[in-house]
Symmetry: C2
Subunit: 357 residues, 2 copies
């Protein structure tokens, strides 16, 4: 890692991505909206947690929602419960699913659930992949948008075909909606219309929303009641989860309506990259607030160029690059920061990039 | 449950037990000591979490400490790892162990570990119970103080005998030190002297300390490194744990030196109860900041009496009673609240109790 490169990003006044620096202010701002003598949640009970769960159940159009400290915990539990019901301890998901690559095999090690990787790493899986699968599974997990490939989404029609097929076959569908909010503008659907296609749904509060941490799992009432038992087993039924709940609600209220702005801005910014000589984005036209940026050049070379430009314009582009065949890449998530950048600075920065790359 | 009784406790100006009301102020006070632009922890990394882990490793005299969202998670993981090392998936602990009665069998359901209940519910287990046990176990869990029986403690000599015996037999020892701080005055030992007897140690930050939530697991370096993998598997490796860390450190610094005061006050208060006609405490002379109070009278009758007295003196004694054979009981934990009570009010209150019980 080139330290100048990381520092150039960190020190920049403006940033292409995100909502701002990870600092204690995020929590303080949220807590300042709450009176000091507000009664806090107590092992999953009390208005502090239950009112928010009700609000989320309503927003997602599900019977009941339960707040979890993390999506890792919430999703393993959802899959475990569906497997228990079907007595089939096998689930299918995309090869770049969060459970497969970021969770140290918790699903396998703690729940002894086998996984089927559907489709291929560099594309969405399709209804054909599903129909051709030979394994019996209890549950299909669908991630919307599919982060590992730049936040791609199936068309609404294909999504419906997939979930309809599962219904017919008796396969449960679980939505990994960590970034679900970000799909609304593309689908032109309400959250509950999207969630209606699925038996259970997980959403996150620190990714697109920018809260501190925490997740909601939502589904049928009895299913969600049972999830509380597993939440305790996992060690997630903390005496108090309010720091996460207060910040989840605060930033959800603040940013949910901005998702279409982020979406438009992602489409705009992708064009800037696609006009560069040696760069392109995946997808070419973003379908959410995120996309991946690829460079046809060596990582060290690109780092040097980006360092110079980021320093010159005090505009952070990315703090990291990953080597891939034929070049390097990074992920971009549009948040509040993008609106702050003066247009002229952005134009000049990309014009320099085009010369130097 | 008699609502007047609960309300009488809640509305009382003074309280016999605890550090104060569960409210958002607990977190706000801790956060106010931290600058808004302080960089936060990121998936277990960064000074916000690592500095506190180092401080705790030092305080507990262990090579390494890792912060967990909960003790439920930390302890299951510790036991799992010791079982993996010995290839014996069986552990022994007291019949009222937290893992046995409060965790929905997480240890069995997630880790498939069998348990041996050592001794009996109403007393500490002894070196003789251990020697007479027929089962091969990987680990012995010892809870200090043993909450379920009023916070009792083995003598230092017996504790050493037990842990020495385990060393000879190749049995690992794990300390459930949720309330470990509270044992220092009785043992007249530093934390690290107590922890030295054990292979791994867990401590909590919301019980005696009064923080928001969170736990530390400490032990050998390689063991603790491995625990991070399990922490992620359990869904406990949150992007940010700082709300719990900041409050843990704040209240630890504030209250650790007060443990001998709470201890002396617990011994004083137990005498008040033991002088009543129809009450006694377990243990009779507390060995920590806690004890259980028993009444030789029917729960409804005691609730009525306590309601009247709590209201008259605006002094909260307990918000609940549990029926037991021949009467009822409750648990008392001494914290900051006790010092606030005017002595005359306390004397008058107990003098009334003696007349009315």
């Amino acid at each position: 890692m080139n330290n100048n490169f990381v520092e150039a990003y960190r020190n920049a006044t403006y940033k292409l991505d995100g909502h701002g620096t990870y600092q204690v202010k995020i929590l303080k701002d949220a807590l300042n909206t709450i009176d000091s003598d507000t009664k806090i949640d107590f092992y999953g009970t009390g208005p502090m947690i239950n009112d928010f769960e009700d609000k989320m159940a309503d927003l997602l159009g599900k019977e009941k929602a339960v707040f979890f400290p993390s999506g890792t915990m919430a999703q393993q539990i959802a899959l475990r419960m569906w497997c228990d019901k079907k007595k089939i301890y096998r689930v299918a998901y995309h090869p770049l699913c969060h459970l497969e690559i970021y969770e140290e095999d918790g699903l396998k090690e703690l729940h002894h659930i086998e996984t089927v990787l559907l489709g291929e790493e560099d594309r969405l899986f399709t209804i054909h992949d599903l129909k051709e699968m030979n394994n019996a599974i209890s549950t299909l997990l669908i991630e919307l948008p599919q982060r590992g490939i730049g936040g791609q989404l199936p068309t609404w029609q294909e999504l419906k075909e997939i979930t309809d097929y599962c219904k017919v076959k008796g396969i449960r569908t679980h939505l990994d909606g960590a970034r679900l909010w970000e799909t609304m503008p593309y689908y032109e659907k309400e959250l509950k219309e999207i969630c209606q296609l699925f038996d259970s749904v997980y959403v996150s509060f620190y990714k697109g929303i920018g809260g501190v941490a925490g997740a909601i799992l939502a589904g049928p009432e009895s299913f969600m009641e049972e999830s509380k038992i597993w939440k305790r087993r996992h060690g997630g039924d903390l005496i108090s989860l309010y720091p996460y709940i207060v910040s989840a609600e605060y930033y959800l209220d603040k940013r949910l309506d901005k998702m279409s702005i982020y979406y438009e801005q992602a489409r705009e910014l992708a064009q800037y990259f696609n006009k560069l000589n040696k760069a392109y984005t995946e997808p070419e036209v973003p379908v959410s607030n995120m996309f991946h940026v690829y460079f046809h050049d060596h990582k060290n070379k690109v780092e040097e160029t980006l360092s110079n430009v980021m320093e010159k314009y005090s505009l952070g582009i990315t703090p990291y690059l990953i080597e891939v065949e034929g070049g390097c890449k990074f992920e971009l998530n549009i948040g509040d920061n993008y609106s702050e950048i003066p247009k002229e600075r952005l134009n000049n920065c990309f014009s320099d990039l085009n010369k130097e790359l």
